[in-house]
Symmetry: C2
Subunit: 316 residues, 2 copies
């Protein structure tokens, strides 16, 4: 079966991103281990540049564009990919054109601006975002870099779990959050190639559970009307991410917003770190009753995917 990304792509991305992305810490806490009932190794992508793993995929994609990035890069995103692409473009010395819904959180708008990107605001719907981006690309010649459904982006995201294995050693299971599936599919490729026996799980908000439903029925279902504080996990999967997720995941656990907030609180209390809701979803799943009931998992790797909390949005 053909996928869009193979382990060689992730390994090449790791080489390419050496010195570009941060090799983020893997940490643990005896208190969290006790609460989880097993050893939990947390990969701190909340400490990545721009505060999220997104910088891995964006950087890999921009570098691989080569001359095709000369006229700049473009994306539509209200979140961390926008900030990641803005920084990756700045480092490459080209323009970044970011289409953001006019409802985008101010903190993320400021983040994108701080990296010198040009922001175009549009109505908050997919049609407006795509047509606005298309107009910009036609006018500027900028290249589109999709937030997740792009093989180079997926390969870049895979480097997070590759590092996790290098730093944490052999793991019985690994879990990542699923929005569009870029991080999750990259995690699947890496894990299956390097550790064939490590079990692979996903975490999703109850209010945006398209991947869980898709996995259940075996076909790609789209997310409509998401309702969750996990603002990075709202989107549907894509044609590149879904087949990988479909074939590799043992199970996807859904978590409530309350469980996510409790996970955020525990990370702050026991590790002193601020993680955004989407970034805490994996740990929330690991602390839930269904995951706790799993047997033969002594060590689980959890990817904390981001740390950009919108001040005032979440009380925890």
């Amino acid at each position: 079966m053909g996928y869009s990304v193979y382990i060689e792509d992730v390994q090449a991305a790791a080489q390419r991103l050496n010195g570009v992305v941060k090799r983020t810490a893997v940490v643990s806490s005896e208190d969290l281990n006790r609460i989880a009932g097993r050893e939990v190794l947390l990969k701190c992508e909340n400490l990545q540049h721009v505060g999220a793993f997104k910088f891995r995929g964006a950087s890999n994609a921009v570098i691989l564009l080569g001359d095709d990035a000369d006229n700049g890069v473009c994306t539509h995103s209200s979140g961390n990919h926008a900030q990641a692409l803005a920084l990756a473009a700045k480092q490459r010395g080209v323009s970044a054109y970011i289409v953001m819904p006019k409802t985008a959180p101010r903190v993320k708008v400021m983040g994108v601006k701080s990296h010198g990107a040009e922001i175009t605001f549009c109505e908050p719907n997919l049609a407006a975002r795509e047509s606005t981006a298309a107009g910009i690309m036609e006018r500027t010649g900028a290249a589109l870099i999709h937030p997740y459904d792009n093989p180079d982006v997926i390969a870049g995201q895979g480097t997070a779990s590759m590092e996790l294995f290098e730093q944490g050693g052999s793991l019985d299971a690994v879990i990542a959050p699923i929005g569009g599936g870029g991080l999750m599919s990259g995690t699947c490729i890496t894990t299956r190639a390097l550790f064939p026996n490590t079990r692979i799980f996903g975490a999703e908000p109850e209010g945006a559970d398209d991947a869980a439903r898709s996995l259940e029925v075996g076909e790609l279902l789209l997310q409509t009307g998401p309702d969750t504080i996990c603002d990075g996990l709202l989107t549907s999967m894509g044609e590149h991410t879904w087949p990988i997720i479909r074939d590799h995941l043992e199970e996807i656990f859904t978590v409530s917003d309350e469980e996510v907030i409790e996970a955020m609180r525990l990370i702050l209390k026991h590790l002193g770190m601020v993680v955004e809701p989407s970034g805490a979803a994996s740990l929330a799943a690991v602390l839930g009753p269904e995951f706790k009931a799993l047997e033969n998992i002594d060590r689980v790797g959890v990817i904390l995917s981001g740390g950009n909390v919108d001040p005032g949005l979440v009380e925890f």
Copy 2:
């Protein structure tokens, strides 16, 4: 040679404090290891209750007072010991009377108040602090709990390094900051009893280097006119802490305020944690040229002693 504290006291304190104090995380970062040139294990007492190791000693002392605490406890402190004693007294259900200089940082005054302690302000000098505290004790019958020169306090502080060894395994060296010497002397007792070959170091600000000077001449020198951002490391050592420090420390490294701020920045960048200046002094020492030149140290344990940064006081 007789000391005021032995390993049995620390072991008893550890039993006594089980479930009272937090067993704080020990974390590390590959980036910090690379910068330090060796493996650095950080014991996160910045995540302890009230944000500092001080809660260990204060709790141990209050519990050991037994009935003698019925009329309350009293101390004079502008810092973390005040907050620690306030919380320990609240948990014991007795009054805490805290004498604070009227120049005490607002953030620490608020912390003490939040635990329901009664604060008496006085002029910012030792004579005023001691006479004010004496008056309160005479009036209330409260028992004095000294911030560091108290064997029960020292034994409680020793539990931090005991946990560090349990969590981090065998270490070639351990380092703690020195103010009055409570944490440092407790660390000495624990380390020497459990790991006779582990080298013991201290860290001090250049602007409050009384311990380094004392160690050099072999007698207790007092600190006058301290000048450093490390507000928890301003005091002189005492009759209980000094002999232990004198006999156990291989060397004390002094660090500049700039080195301390750089250590704070690195901890935030690579581990996402906020540590106060005094709390970062040990890491600052480990990252300095003198410590780097030490041979045969592959793994060093560093106690991050506190996390209560006064907002606006330090820009980093």
